[in-house]
Amino acid sequence: MPILEVDRVSHAYGKQPVVRELSFTLAKGEIACLLGSSGCGKTTMLRLIAGFETPSAGSIRLNGVTVADAKTQTPPEARHIGMVFQDYALFPHLSIADNIGFGLREKSALARRQRVDEMLELIGLAGRGERYPHELSGGQQQRIALARALAPAPHLLLLDEPFSNLDVELRERLSLEVRDILKQAGMAAILVTHDQHEAFAVADVVGIMREGRIEQWDTPYNLYHRPATRHVADFVGQGVFLPGEVITRQAVKVELGLLDSDVPMECGSSCSDCQRSCRLDVLLRPDDIIHDDTSDVQAEVVAKSFRGAEFLYTLRLPSGAEVLSMVPSHHNHAIGEKIGIRLDVDHVVGFRQGE
């Protein structure tokens, strides 16, 4: 039985719909992420699950029990859902230990202390329980917020942009750490973020949200390599669209040459009837274009950005179209220089032109 079932849930602020007939399920121990730019409805979806908002339609079932539908609206405090907030929301008037033990009010003092110690151990802050939140760094505070949410062993943990107040380096480290902690606790969780690196680092499955809908609910690998819509292709990772013409079910011709793959091309959902001479926009990722001095195809370097291990070159093709290419950084070319490139595409992703 799934731990969470969201079934055609809608919500509006006034007349403005924010969440539209959204459905997904989450298995026990699974970590999902709602990824999207601001205003896509991802935080509202989280608040609907937590019980801070009431859906205008649809139902939410938690651990097999309906917590929200047309007749039911279980208040947040009765849902057994843990929550981690962007600004940590630790209680400043309580010590770390009291913060973590806050959700364990029903337990005996002894049981509470044991659980608090266990949690402090889990987040690597054993022995710091007597301190106060303001004495600790942002990363430590967010780990305490995580421990506080996990301590009552909730059915589900919700994380609302939990790393966005932290600097980049810490964000990366903490997101991996949080994933470890959640997996260790076997906790099902939903993360909300606009940062795809964070989403990919933490989640097993990611839902790309746009205008209150989920465009694709899939693994990070599939989102990158098999985007279902043009928006997903655009939003996830880098890349450009190049016009192409269908030759066969497995091959498309673009300016850079013939793209042929062993597998039938991914043509977006609307393009299952792709036929010869059908015009497509083909997605080319920076790693699909290889720098090769022996190649006949030449492109001019118009911009470059140093990434340490590699350069990300923006290249202009003879037609004027631009593509991106990831090249090992010892190939240092000047802007204006012409370099040889070739395609190395393992499967074609295209969307019919004009859609």
């Binding site: 801070f52 843990g82 600004d87 806050f102 009552p152």
Partner: protein, 218 residues
């Protein structure tokens, strides 16, 4: 000038002490009663129940729009009607000050409650607390802590304002000084003494407030 006789301070001290004790007792009762009643009023003003909110704000705004000395006189005349028997000036003063100060403490507590980030409430509810428990364990403790300097400043004002009970003849510090001054025919010396006592207490309290403020900013 030059013919002050401060030797009258010595014999009048027991009398002054009794007056001061009443002033302090009145301040403490009006403060604690006022903060409790004021907090309840603040919760009523913030309540989603419109009737409750309107009733509370009517009470608060009325109290804040009438001079204290009028309220003192008015209560002194009205309370005996309500209770059916005469109450002393001292009891009347305590009821009046509690009711009056509650309106001011209410506004301080209301600002304090509204100043608590909404995330704090959401965090407490996600951890299983009802709205009432959230108020008691999360919002109010922080509101009081954040507002402590303002609450104490209001209490200093309250302490000074207690001298207005002079109007209904309650035996507070000022009244004691006044009576002693008349007894010894040295009114100026006794007024100076009471002023010094008011000053010493208010000044040390305001230093305490500054200390608390400084600690709060760290």
């Amino acid at each position: 000038m030059g013919d002050f006789d401060f030797s009258v301070w010595q014999p009048s001290l027991p009398f002054i002490r009794d007056g001061l004790l009443f002033t302090l007792r009145l301040t403490l009762i009006a403060m604690s009663g006022g903060i409790v009643l004021g907090t309840l009023l603040a919760l009523a003003r913030l309540s989603p129940n419109r009737w409750l909110a309107n009733a509370a704000s009517l009470y608060v705004n009325t109290m804040r729009s009438i001079p204290l000395v009028l309220v003192i006189l008015w209560f002194f005349l009205v309370i005996p009607y309500l209770t059916g028997k005469p109450v002393g000036a001292e009891t009347s003063a305590m009821i009046t000050f509690t009711a009056f100060e509650a309106a001011f403490y209410c506004e301080i507590m209301r600002a304090g409650i509204q100043g608590i980030p909404r995330g704090q409430v959401a965090a407490a509810q996600a951890l299983g607390l009802s709205s009432t428990q959230t108020m008691v364990h999360v919002v109010l403790p922080q509101a009081v802590r954040n507002m402590l300097p303002v609450l104490l400043t209001q209490t200093i004002v309250l302490f000074q304002d207690t001298s207005l009970v002079w109007a209904i003849g309650a035996k507070d510090l000022l009244k004691a000084a006044d009576v002693a001054g008349k007894n010894y025919n040295r009114p100026v010396e006794m007024i100076v003494l009471s002023a010094l006592i008011y000053f010493a207490i208010c000044f040390s309290l305001s230093i305490a407030v500054r200390q608390i403020q400084k600690r709060g900013q760290q």
